[in-house]
């Protein structure tokens, strides 16, 4: 599996090592990954993609584990992409989400992949989207994408999903206020996990109040659960299904995927342009020189931008 052709062949035969390697290539931004995926894009879009997000320690992996069990009982093939933060200092990461899913570790119908956020700009959602496509091609019926719900890159990842579940825990208080701006708007269903802890009801109430203030046609439901004891999971799953059927009405599903595709394409453009710009900034764009001129007031940033754009786009033909 050294070339896009040989890997693609193995992938078409359903070899799981091919899926694994394809995701590795995507994570490394290796062009071979995109070659394999573009050739097969028409065959994707079949899987249901569920996002599971929430602050660290909220029990996302335990919940994901419970969902895998449920989906397996229905005979589905399940893919899981578990994203954990990379250390900005060392570039290393410890990805520990599998620990919660050990029960499924030898189930051939469950494919679990851990990913570090790594450093690259916009690269996370690009790699995640590619990983989703890879698992989709592998025949996963449902793909669960688990991310720590902080920061723009994770929010971007959630936009790719058909439904996003936000996992909250009691006692977040101010933190709910803090994260609401970015994260609240991508949540389709909310759960308050660890509802055996004090303050669970209050957290749920506060969430509902917040969601009442600002929502469109769909007011995200809030369910209280205890994932470790499998309590409330039926209600949570029903809420997800209710959202799916709501979304299936009219052309909502199409519209959602359209928005997500648009977001993805714009994201790809952004990262490609940035990459191009950073690759050529030293010798072609001479960014430092422009900055020096601006600093000395010999040039203004707006005209500098025009110069940069002219160079960049002429270079791309």
């Amino acid at each position: 599996m050294k070339t896009a052709q040989s890997l693609g062949l193995a992938l078409d035969q359903g070899q799981r090592r091919a899926v694994a390697r394809l995701i590795t290539w995507a994570e490394r931004n290796d062009p071979r990954a995109y070659q394999v995926l573009s050739e097969r894009y028409a065959n994707t879009g079949r899987a249901f993609v569920l996002g599971v997000s929430g602050p660290p320690g909220s029990g996302k992996s335990t919940l994901t584990d419970a969902f895998i069990r449920r989906l397996r009982a229905q005979g589905q093939r399940v893919g899981v992409i578990a994203v954990d933060p990379t250390s900005p200092f060392t570039g290393g990461a410890v990805l520990g989400d599998r620990v919660r899913m050990n029960e499924h570790a030898t189930d051939r119908e469950v494919f679990i992949r851990s990913m570090g956020t790594r450093g690259h700009l916009g690269g996370l959602s690009k790699a995640t989207s590619a990983a989703i496509l890879a698992l989709d091609l592998y025949g996963c019926d449902t793909i669960i994408v688990e991310t720590v719900g902080v920061g723009q890159s994770e929010v971007d990842v959630m936009r790719v999903c058909d439904c996003t579940l936000m996992v909250m825990v009691p006692g977040l208080g101010d933190e709910i206020q803090a994260i609401k701006a970015g994260v609240m708007e991508v949540g389709d269903v909310f759960v308050v996990n660890k509802s055996d802890l004090a303050g669970a009801r209050r957290t749920a109430r506060e969430l509902r109040a917040m969601l009442d203030l600002n929502h469109g046609e769909w007011r995200p439901p809030v369910e209280q659960i205890i994932a470790t004891q499998a309590e409330g999971l039926d209600a949570a799953w029903t809420a997800i299904e209710t959202f799916i059927s709501f979304n299936a009405e009219g052309n909502r599903a199409y519209q959602r995927r359209f928005e997500s595709v648009k977001h993805e394409l714009l994201g790809l453009m952004q990262s490609a342009i940035l990459e191009k710009a950073s690759q050529s900034q030293a010798h072609v764009l001479k960014i430092d020189e422009l900055c020096a001129q601006i600093t000395r007031r010999e040039l203004d940033p707006y005209s500098a931008l025009n110069q940069v754009l002219a160079i960049l786009f002429s270079a791309t033909r």
Partner: protein
């Protein structure tokens, strides 16, 4: 304004030593100028800063100035800092209890008889991992593990062989068993009955400390809540039926082995103790009935003086907690009794003979700290299970300390040392801070679920590792004074056929027992687990019917579920 405040602050009583201390300081400065000290900062084995010199002034520091009667008292008296018995080792030496067990019950039985013949005064049973995790030897997960780190026990038949020829009314037996403790205790009671020894005469200890399994040792089975319930069932049962039995050994040993500091060992272990007391109180038990049967288990690490202070601090903290926080009235509830094991993680695979010296120093620390019983590690334990000759040297080390060193002839000889007393108070304070933090998190089980305790230990372990690798901490023979040495020879090998032999035994037992009786017993256990009935008497019936450990734990697994590890890195 600020002037007057400063003057006020400076106006604390001049100390009678101030002048001579200043003189000493001048002398130190002079010497330091010519011969600087070896390091900028000296630290204990746990990384705490340590002063050049301790003087009476260190004991008088406000607001907790040292007070002999309040802080030490007399041996056998509250707060027990100087020891739990009035005469300590002048009356009776500590129990020399060597942890042993491997292979089949037959092989371990032979080792126990050897230990008793060599002067070992108590037995300590090591079980293999499948037994500790509630799997029979024929379970898939037991593959390759049967008889490896301890003896394999599948049914009462194995237990009968294990204690064959050992009169249970004459030995005290410690069993390192936690998640399935009730099953192994039931088997022990059943063996006693067969020998004609009533349960009321059995003496010994089960470790039964599940919280530290979640934290550090890893042989858990069930989730926190049912595990705590099984433990309180044992407390209740033993209070009435096995009154001389120590129902739990709340263990700091493994927490320390996992890399904690001395203060963490104290703080986390005692916080676990608090959780067990609270669980038992919640189950409606009378504190003065169960608390006297609680015992502790600590590590004796390398920093000699710090360790002695640690043991003394442990007694004082526990006494104060039991009396003041829980309102225990019985002095036996206040007294913290403990077993000690020398620190396994301090042993090196390199130049293993050096380990004998480490163990000797650790033995001295445990004895000077007032331990009730002691296991000394053998020199080859960084490499494999110990051989008989290595075990003998380890036992002899205790005997030399007991009979030749003279440290057992007077009680708590280091009391009153400025450093020891200052360090004892410092460790008490640090441990109490951890206990407070854990209380704030909702108690030990919650703090464990949140990964707090594991994180703290891991940070300390990683710091230690970095210090060793940078040679800021010297480990003789490992990162300094290294020699080329031939690979070690003569290590103990456990026969691979143990697993096969155990499987055959299980098959034979299952073929010969009354299956209907077994099924009834297991059903009764299931119902008790689902409800609130004390499960101990039912487990006793089941083991007598030769239900296997795996069958009993299997039923409980079905009712209780299994614990999910909380990962901290």
């Amino acid at each position: 304004m600020s002037d007057s405040k400063e003057t006020l602050g400076a106006q604390t009583q001049p100390h009678y030593l101030d002048e001579s201390l200043a003189e000493y300081q001048a002398q130190v400065d002079k010497v330091n100028a010519r011969f600087p000290e070896r390091k900028q900062e000296f630290t204990t084995g746990s990384g705490d800063s340590i002063q050049r010199l301790y003087t009476p002034k260190d004991l008088e520091a406000q607001p907790n100035a040292f007070d002999y009667e309040q802080d030490l008292g007399f041996p056998g008296q509250y707060p027990f800092t100087r020891g739990v018995q009035p005469t300590m080792y002048r009356g009776r030496l500590w129990t020399m209890r060597m942890y042993a067990g491997f292979g089949t019950a037959e092989e371990s039985n032979a080792r126990y008889k050897y230990l008793v013949s060599q002067g070992s005064s108590g037995l300590s049973v090591a079980f293999d991992l499948p037994t500790q995790i509630g799997y029979d030897s024929d379970h898939d997960l037991a593959e390759g593990e049967v008889g490896k780190v301890g003896v394999a026990i599948d049914s009462l038949a194995d237990m009968e062989v294990l204690f064959d020829g050992i009169p249970l009314d004459q030995v005290s037996t410690s069993m390192t068993i936690n998640a399935p403790a009730s099953v192994l205790l039931a088997m022990y009671i059943a063996v006693g009955e067969k020998q004609g020894v009533p349960a009321s005469k059995l003496r010994g200890t089960i470790q039964n400390d599940i919280l530290k399994e979640y934290i550090a040792r890893g042989t858990y089975i069930f989730p926190t809540a049912p595990s705590m319930r099984l433990i309180t069932d044992i407390f209740e049962y033993c209070a009435s039926d096995v009154p001389l039995w120590n129902t739990i050994s709340i263990s700091g040993y493994h927490i320390r082995e996992a890399g904690s500091t001395a203060a963490q060992e104290l703080g986390f272990t005692i916080a676990n103790g608090v959780a067990y007391v609270e669980a038992a109180l919640k189950a409606g038990l009378d504190i003065d009935l169960f608390a006297p049967r609680l015992s502790f288990f600590f590590n004796a690490h390398n920093d000699f003086l710090e360790e002695i202070a640690k043991f003394r601090a442990a007694r004082r903290i526990w006494a104060r907690l039991m009396k003041e926080r829980f309102g225990a009235k019985n002095p036996k509830s206040w007294a913290l009794k403990f077993h000690t094991q020398t620190g396994g993680s301090t042993l090196t695979a390199q130049q293993p003979d050096n380990n004998i010296v480490r163990v000797a120093i650790q033995t001295l620390a445990a004895v000077l700290g007032g331990t009730q019983s002691l296991h000394t590690n053998s020199k080859d334990e960084a490499l494999a299970l110990p051989t008989e000759s290595a075990v003998q040297v380890a036992l002899r080390t205790q005997q030399i300390v007991a009979h030749e060193s003279g440290v057992a002839n007077t009680v708590d000889p280091l009391a009153g040392s400025y450093y020891i007393e200052a360090k004892t108070s410092e460790l008490e304070e640090a441990a109490l801070a951890y206990i407070k933090r854990i209380d704030d998190l909702g108690g030990s089980p919650k703090a464990i679920d949140a990964g707090y305790i594991q994180d703290e230990i891991m940070d300390a372990a990683y710091d230690h590792q970095k210090l060793v690798e940078s040679q800021e901490r010297i480990v003789v023979g490992m990162n300094k004074y290294i020699v080329e040495e031939p690979p070690p020879s003569g290590l103990l090998k456990v026969d691979l056929s143990v697993g096969e032999r155990q499987k055959e035994k299980i098959a034979a037992i299952k073929a010969s027992r009354n299956q209907e009786q077994v099924t009834d017993c297991l059903t009764a256990i299931r119902q008790a687990c689902e409800g609130e009935e004390n499960v101990m008497p039912l487990i006793l019936e089941a083991v007598k019917a030769y239900a296997t450990l795996g069958e009993i734990c299997g039923v409980m697994r079905e009712v209780f579920g299994e614990y999910q590890q909380s990962v901290s890195l």
